[in-house]
Symmetry: C2
Subunit: 164 residues, 2 copies
DNA sequence: ATACATGCAAACATTTTGCTTTGGC
DNA sequence: GCCAAAGCAAAATGTTTGCATGTAT
């Protein structure tokens, strides 16, 4: 049940730039540049992968932050459209920093829960425009996940009982 | 927060056929044709739309069933691949009966939570094959959702200073 | 008669809120 | 000093399990 997305943490400078941009946007909304906010943004920018609130509070640099604090920070980030929510069929919700120009779709093993990035070019963006045009929706984005049984789990599939 | 999928309940005969097929598959797995199972399948076949466990237990015909019973039935249906789970960014998980040949993607308003069907031809199926081939996954399916702000909510959006 | 299915209640995990204290501006 | 942020703790919500009883086979 571990997330193993294949994301390269960005270069330190990119990370700092990203953090600064986020802070700037948040400050314009009246938020303060607090120690917790900075630590959280820095982590999410450097490890651009889906994480639950529990995942985040287990991170070394965020361990001093209360879960309620992390929760409230993430909610604020989400309100500012800096963070997006992902439903990956686990009990807890996953969150991920929005990095302009980066979009990722995921491949999840329904047996072991492993989460991988899908590198294929995603053909869905044109549909977003169509939805805006035809349905009158604004701020449209999509979420695409593939579910299946990964090679490692395949032999042990309940429906295809392999005798070990 | 109401689901308003635009699904035509199937014809009664189709519904019965679907239910019979499900029961048959389940029986082969050792499940019994209980009253609760039949009521649940019948409802999910006739109202082929995403529903939470709470939604289901509020249904007239299922009101006599305990939530734990509904939970266990739905889990069994999911194990048998007769039901799929959907993460629509709400706290509760949505479930939907799998109807062979029918696939639906959804459009969710991030403001009011309204859930609509997307009627566009979904270009993702070829990718499923690619994933099976290139990543060695089996039993691959996808889940695609669009999120955005619906026309009704658009004017009242807190942080979208309409740049029309 | 046996084993699965159910109801009821309790345990659990996660999310959300209230209130007091701390800290950024 | 003012108001947002954080810490702590508790409430709210949804999911899961245990156990005694009912029911399909």
């Amino acid at each position: 049940m571990k997330a193993t997305a294949c994301h390269h943490p960005q270069q330190p400078q990119e990370v700092n730039l990203l953090v600064e941009n986020c802070v700037a946007k948040l400050r314009s909304r009246g938020l303060r540049r607090s120690q917790g906010l900075e630590a959280l943004l820095h982590h999410m920018a450097a490890h651009h992968r889906p994480a639950t609130l529990a995942d985040l509070s287990r991170v070394q640099d965020l361990a001093s932050l209360d879960q309620a604090t992390i929760y409230r920070l993430v909610m604020k980030l989400e309100s500012a459209s800096l963070v997006r929510r992902l439903g990956l069929h686990e009990r807890a919700t996953y969150f991920q920093l929005v990095v302009p120009g980066h979009h990722h779709d995921y491949l999840v093993c329904t047996s072991c829960g492993k989460i991988e990035d899908v590198e294929l070019t995603c053909p869905v963006e044109p549909l977003e425009r169509e939805i805006m045009a035809r349905r009158g929706y604004s701020h449209v984005y999509h979420e695409l996940e593939f579910f299946g049984i990964c090679p490692a789990c395949a032999p042990a599939t309940p429906e295809a009982p392999a005798i070990l």
